[in-house]
């Protein structure tokens, strides 16, 4: 079968499947979707999905993508890597800010800008104020890598060096972090911390038994934490 024949066959197949599948998706008659599941599940779904799913999907259409931001700083290689990586955005509301991770890459030769010896971590985030007011250049944001097995105060962007750039557009602060990865970082869970103060015990907790890092729930400011990659086995 030639490729052209296969394409035609797939179109027919798609039409047959669409026309014959027996599914019914329940939609809201007015402002809420009534599921056939229990009301409790609806409430849980509404809370969880509206935060996790809708936000992350919508974010892609509200913000610049990581690939677009890389083009903005004339980093062609990084832009291509972000495109190939099929980046998924993720949003967390923490303290006064709503932070969307637009993309991250860790490794060697990922960028035209070789700013560190060894591996580098590039992460792009979009930050908005949770109350809807516009961000300004007075809003102070710290972006840092964190690692499992290492206390946040001992291994972060201040101890290991890093650089970044940012700009404001439509009330959104775009922050690009170019950070140095610790040697052997693949053997650790790699996190991205976005806070209003440098990483330490006050905003991030390190559990010496499990070696995991978590946001400190008692911290009143911003202490978002994204898990970028799990440790290699």
């Amino acid at each position: 079968m030639t490729t052209e024949c296969l394409e035609m066959r797939l179109r027919q197949n798609g039409q047959t499947l669409r026309e014959n599948v027996r599914i019914s998706i329940e939609l809201p008659s007015e402002c809420s979707i009534r599921r056939k599941n229990s009301p409790v599940r609806v409430l849980i779904l509404a809370a969880v999905l509206s935060v996790i799913l809708a936000f992350s999907a919508i974010a892609a259409y509200r913000y610049y993508s990581a690939a677009e931001l890389a083009v903005r700083i004339n980093d062609q290689r990084l832009s291509e890597r972000f495109r190939d990586a099929d980046v998924l955005s993720e949003t967390v509301e923490s303290g006064a800010y709503r932070i969307t991770l637009l993309g991250s890459l860790a490794g060697t030769n990922i960028s035209d800008r070789k700013t560190h010896a060894g591996a580098q971590l590039v992460a792009y985030v979009a930050v908005e104020r949770a109350d809807g007011s516009a961000m300004t250049y007075d809003d102070h944001i710290v972006v840092s890598p964190l690692y499992s097995d290492m206390a946040p105060s001992e291994a972060n962007t201040y101890t290991d060096s890093g650089s970044g750039w940012y700009f404001l557009e439509d009330g959104v602060l775009y922050y690009g972090a170019d950070l140095r990865c610790r040697l052997g970082y693949e053997k650790h869970d790699l996190y991205l911390a976005v806070s209003d103060s440098p990483p330490g015990a006050w905003n991030y907790l390190y559990d010496e038994e499990t070696d995991k890092i978590t946001s400190n729930p008692t911290y009143s400011g911003t202490n978002a934490l994204f898990l970028l990659q799990k440790a290699e086995k």
Binding site: L6, L10, T16, L17, R18, N20, I23, I33, A54, I58
Partner: protein, 157 residues
């Protein structure tokens, strides 16, 4: 607004289901994924800046929902788990779709988006944030893999 959302959604719900099937390979999970995605999308619909991108936007939400389900569900499931939903579809048609799924979700998505969801290459590129040339290349490569996979399937029958 509710009516326009429903009208727009109804136009593409069947093909969204098959996009979800390409990821999840399970009718019940795929139906749930599309339904959950609809819930999220409905709540955000009024804030959609570009209604002309509804199909792309809605598909993105479905894909994110599917991936979220995949992360929670590690085990592999069989395609023909729910004959009620697939009843009446010729076996050979299901076998072809199954062959697509066997390519893996990453390759299958180019084919499901292009041929089951009837998206143009440009729309797929926009959806996946990939260059047009990349989308065309990967679709061709997925087609070639499917051709080999399907050839083996035909011989098996």
């Amino acid at each position: 607004m509710a009516h326009s959302f429903e009208a727009a959604f109804r136009e593409i719900e069947q093909s969204l289901f098959w996009v979800a099937m390409g990821y999840l390979r399970n009718t019940e999970d795929a139906r749930d994924a599309v339904q959950d995605a609809a819930l999220s999308a409905y709540r955000a619909y009024q804030g959609l800046r570009h209604p002309e991108y509804f199909k792309t936007w809605m598909t993105r939400i479905v894909i994110n929902t599917c991936r979220d389900q995949q992360r929670r569900r590690q085990q592999t499931v069989e395609l023909q788990d729910d004959l009620g939903a697939l009843e009446g579809i010729p076996e050979e048609e299901l076998a072809l779709f199954d062959a697509i799924c066997r390519l893996g979700a990453e390759r299958a998505r180019y084919l499901t988006l292009r041929f089951y969801h009837e998206m143009t290459y440009e729309e797929v590129a926009e959806l996946l944030h990939q260059p047009l040339s990349t989308v065309k290349y990967r679709t061709r490569r997925a087609l070639e893999d499917l051709r080999l996979e399907w050839k083996g399937e035909e011989h098996d029958h």
